[in-house]
Amino acid sequence: MLITRRAEFSSSHVCAQPSLSAEQNRELYGAASNPNGHGHNYVLEVTLEGEPDPVTGMVFDLKVLKEIVNKTVVEPMDHRFLNYEVPPFDRIVPTAENLAAEIWKRLEPHFAGDRARLHNVRLFETEDLYVDYAGDRT
């Protein structure tokens, strides 16, 4: 069974590689490469997979899931400029793809050995663009 919890955070970022020219970055990232950055209302959907506990009837305690997501993702990233304030985005480009992978990395250890495991991370950068990441496995 899959259960999904949604969270939101608002952050700014700029997508550009220091090794590329302004024109090359523009070709690769479009307006997202504007040097002073811009922001999004990110929407995160965290999906866990597991069987309901026969006693509680729950796959995972959603209050606990909310706390984990808040502590590992929302609090560090909400109302921050990702490139300057949230490592590793001082070193890697904060694309939606890299953000989804980083969020997976932060969440996954919290579900090791429990009844439920992390199944998928879906990150909406806008309503018209989202990324799914389900770990290294292909």
Binding site: Q17, Y29, I92, P94, T95, L129, D132, R137
Partner: protein, 140 residues
């Protein structure tokens, strides 16, 4: 593996009618979609692309190129058009959402490798929402 989904919107009209059936049979099969002068929808098209994330760019796909490809191969011909008359594939083929989505896949595939020179990502899924109550998915 990471999957990126990009959403596009277009408005188009169509009429579902097959020359193989009688007027009554068409009416029975397609219902209101068979009304003689056609009707329209605000379609929502989700294109899902998957692959490894490039270490330097942090991207599965160059979104600028994907946008240009979809604009040139699909939106330019479909947006604010009457599909039966304005899109060449629907001369014989009935523009049901099932057929529309297949035409779109063919168009994207025909230009995919050329558009994404070098490392090209995988076109994984196309999802077409005709109305809030109807959606069609083609998984590669």
């Amino acid at each position: 593996m990471t999957r990126l989904t990009r959403r596009y919107k277009f408005a188009a009209s169509h009429r579902l009618h097959s020359g193989r059936f009688s007027e009554e049979e068409n009416r029975e099969l397609y219902g209101k979609c068979n009304n003689p002068h056609g009707h329209g929808h605000d379609y929502v098209l989700d294109v899902s692309v998957s692959g490894p994330v490039d270490a330097a760019s942090g991207q599965v796909v160059n979104i600028q190129i994907l946008d240009r490809l979809v604009a040139g191969q699909i939106l330019r011909d479909f947006d604010h058009k009457y599909l039966n008359a304005d899109v060449c594939e629907f001369g014989e083929t009935i523009p049901t959402s099932e057929n529309i989505i297949r035409v779109m896949e063919n168009r994207l595939r025909a230009h995919w490798r050329h558009a994404f020179a070098g490392e090209w990502p995988r076109l994984e899924k196309i999802r077409l929402r005709e109305t809030r109550r109807n959606a069609f998915e083609l998984v590669s």
